[in-house]
């Protein structure tokens, strides 16, 4: 079981010093995410979920405690090694998409691979095309990011997150800027990825979105106050059908 754990967090603390005050953003977190899990991290603003996500995403280091990602203790790594971990083991999807402006979908998806020395030009192009096809944007590869809708832009972002074959994808309020129907479509994409075995950590404050995940944790004041699995997670396809029905009734 141990080697199947993608994320293992043991008694993690993160403190900030603001003025003379010590702020405990994370106060003894223990968390285990097995391979193939789809976990929702929930919490109100100020709960510490962004801090947790930054540490999970190897953008920040904990003050104490251990974070073992895919068998590697992140605490021992320097800045450049962390960048390599982010590049090769992690995928990111942001609330505001964060695509490069005036750049085609294909070039946006190629971006992480540009920072990987081991990927040749031809392979980079091929993998980016595959990733875009897998999110259903086969016909929009050469479109500029500004020429696409929010949902399409988020699909490009998802393609970008999977193109480097990461061990886990972190999504930070990935549906926050989208309407309900498009949100469901994006969740469907995440569920599909998860069904193929991808581990996903999804930060959200919307319970109805969290309902589509397998496992959810709730953070409050830097502690995990709830950690439960969600055996009857809703199938997104039903919900999508429902939104279509709602629309036709109106």
């Amino acid at each position: 079981m141990n080697n199947q754990e993608i994320i293992k967090i043991i008694d993690m603390h993160k403190n900030y010093i603001v003025g003379d005050q010590k702020i405990r953003a994370l106060d003894g977190i223990n968390l285990s995410v097995p391979k193939g899990d789809f976990v929702a991290i929930m919490g109100s603003s100020g709960s510490g979920k962004s801090t947790l996500l930054n540490i999970l995403g190897c953008l920040d280091l904990p003050s104490s405690g251990d974070y073992i990602l895919d068998g590697v203790n992140v605490k021992t790594l320097n800045k450049n090694k962390l960048a390599d971990i982010r590049n090769q083991k992690l995928g990111f999807v942001f609330q505001s998409y964060n695509l490069l402006p005036r750049t085609t979908a294909l070039e946006n998806v190629e971006l992480p691979l540009l920072y990987n020395r081991l990927v040749s030009n031809a392979e980079r192009r091929e993998r980016a095309e595959e990733a875009l096809i897998s999110v259903g944007l086969k016909d929009r590869m050469k479109h500029l990011s500004s020429q696409m809708s929010g949902g399409q832009q988020q699909r490009v972002a998802i393609a970008r997150s999977v193109v480097s074959n990461p061990v886990v994808i972190f999504a930070d309020e990935a549906t926050g800027n989208l309407d309900t129907r498009t949100s469901y479509e994006i969740m469907a994409l995440f569920q599909e990825l998860n069904n193929k075995g991808m581990t996903i950590c999804f930060v959200t404050h919307e319970p109805d979105i969290a309902a589509f995940t397998k496992h959810s944790i709730v953070i409050q004041d830097g502690r995990i106050v709830e950690d439960r699995s969600n055996p009857n997670s809703q199938n997104i396809v039903d919900s999508l059908a429902k939104t279509t029905e709602d629309k036709s009734n109106h």
Binding site: N54, A83, R86, T103, L111, P112, Y115
Partner: protein, 405 residues
């Protein structure tokens, strides 16, 4: 990150904002073009002065009389009577380094043929004069030593005189008058054209120095002695020898100053060159200042660009870009902008030089050095002014950068 990828990223970033990139490099384009054009004009005039002086003979050494400063009043060199024909003979007999030597007298006057007349200048020397001054005979012949000895009234004339008083007539054998003295034309001189100073080098007649001395000016002293060294390298030692021999010939004591002055072509060139080189430095520095201003423009835009693209930088770092990758990207963007500006600037500068040459008729010379110099300079500017913004970008914290609005 691979170097090729950095280039690719930088090119994408630059082409993403074509108008702004163009305006950014405009400063560099103008700066480099100004440097190229200014240097081309500077070198061009310098070169043409050099050519003019060289065409008079690079081995040429001029000796002119000066009055010693004993009485406190200096008179003009033409009125000084210290150089005599015997000095020429003395040098001829005693010098081991002189290639050829000739006395020189010259003056202006009206030349008349039939009903035509023309104001011109008469030069005179011995049979070696043409060789020393790099003149060539187009038709006819040079005067002989016998004609010099007898002060024969013969002359050679330049093309301008032929055009003005003979027209299509063949001048050889005709008699023309200069200062009321009849001269038989025995030869014509090959055309040389105008020199850089605008002087018509074909507007001249040439006669034996004895004739000019005795028959026209009735004087016993010379205006100058011209001589040529055996080679350009031996000019300095020849000058030294001539100085020594002339002091002996003039029986000057050690305490006395020279009563003559020796000017070589090299000195003449450097006199004129120092003026045009000063202009060159002046023009060059003005152009260089505009290049620096262009560089500051690049820095300004790169700095703005870093602020504007803070999120992009955060994203690149989140996706695995290292600080040094971001540094390289922005540095390379600045470098690419300035090099691009440099290349366009070089082309514009060459074009401007060609236009100046054709429209204004100024001599221009685009040298590889000036191209290389301005190219290196704008590369340096790209790195220098790109460094600070690039450092700023690479020092960003990805978490804060991603949150940047």
């Amino acid at each position: 990150m691979k170097f090729m990828n950095i280039i690719k990223i930088a090119i994408i970033a630059i082409t993403r904002n074509k108008m702004r990139s163009f305006l950014t490099i405009l400063g560099i384009v103008i700066g480099v073009a100004a440097v190229i054009a200014m240097l081309a004009i500077g070198y061009g005039s310098n070169n043409s002065i050099r050519e003019t002086i060289s065409s008079m003979g690079t081995n040429l050494i001029n000796v002119r009389p000066v009055s010693p400063n004993s009485s406190g009043v200096r008179r003009s060199s033409s009125a000084t009577q210290t150089l005599k024909v015997k000095d020429v003979t003395y040098l001829q007999n005693n010098s081991k380094l002189i290639d050829a030597i000739s006395p020189e007298l010259d003056g202006s006057g009206q030349v008349v043929y039939g009903s035509n007349n023309w104001p011109t200048r008469i030069y005179s020397g011995n049979e070696d004069y043409l060789h020393i001054k790099k003149y060539e005979v187009a038709s006819g012949r040079v005067f002989t030593s016998k004609e010099i000895k007898t002060a024969a009234k013969v002359c050679l004339i330049g093309q301008t005189i032929i055009d003005n008083i003979f027209g299509d007539e063949d001048p050889i054998g005709k008699v023309i008058r200069f200062e009321k003295i009849p001269f038989t034309v025995i030869g014509t001189l090959t055309e040389k054209g105008d020199n850089t100073f605008g002087q018509d080098q074909d507007d001249m007649m040439l006669a034996p120095y004895t004739t000019v001395m005795k028959r026209i000016y009735r004087q016993t002293y010379l205006r100058a002695v011209v001589l040529s060294a055996k080679s350009e390298d031996s000019i300095d030692i020849t000058t030294a020898e001539v100085t020594k021999l002339l002091r002996l010939s003039h029986k000057l004591k050690d305490s006395e100053e020279d009563d003559f002055e020796i000017k070589t072509q090299e000195e003449l060139i450097s006199n004129f060159s120092s003026v045009s080189e000063m202009m060159l430095v002046l023009l060059g520095s003005i152009a260089a200042i505009s290049l620096v201003v262009g560089g500051i423009g690049i820095m300004n835009v790169m700095y703005m660009s870093v602020t504007e693209r803070t999120r992009e930088i955060g994203l690149r770092m989140a996706l695995g870009g290292k600080s040094r990758d971001v540094l390289k990207q922005f540095l390379f963007e600045a470098l690419l902008l300035s090099v691009l500006g440099g290349i366009i600037g070089i082309l514009v500068g060459i074009l401007a030089s060609v236009i100046v040459e054709h429209v204004l008729g100024w001599p221009v010379l685009v040298t590889t050095n000036s191209i290389l110099l301005s190219f290196l300079f704008c590369t340096f500017i790209g790195v220098f002014f790109g460094w600070y913004p690039a450092r700023k970008a690479s020092a960003l914290n990805p978490i804060e950068a991603l949150r940047h609005e």
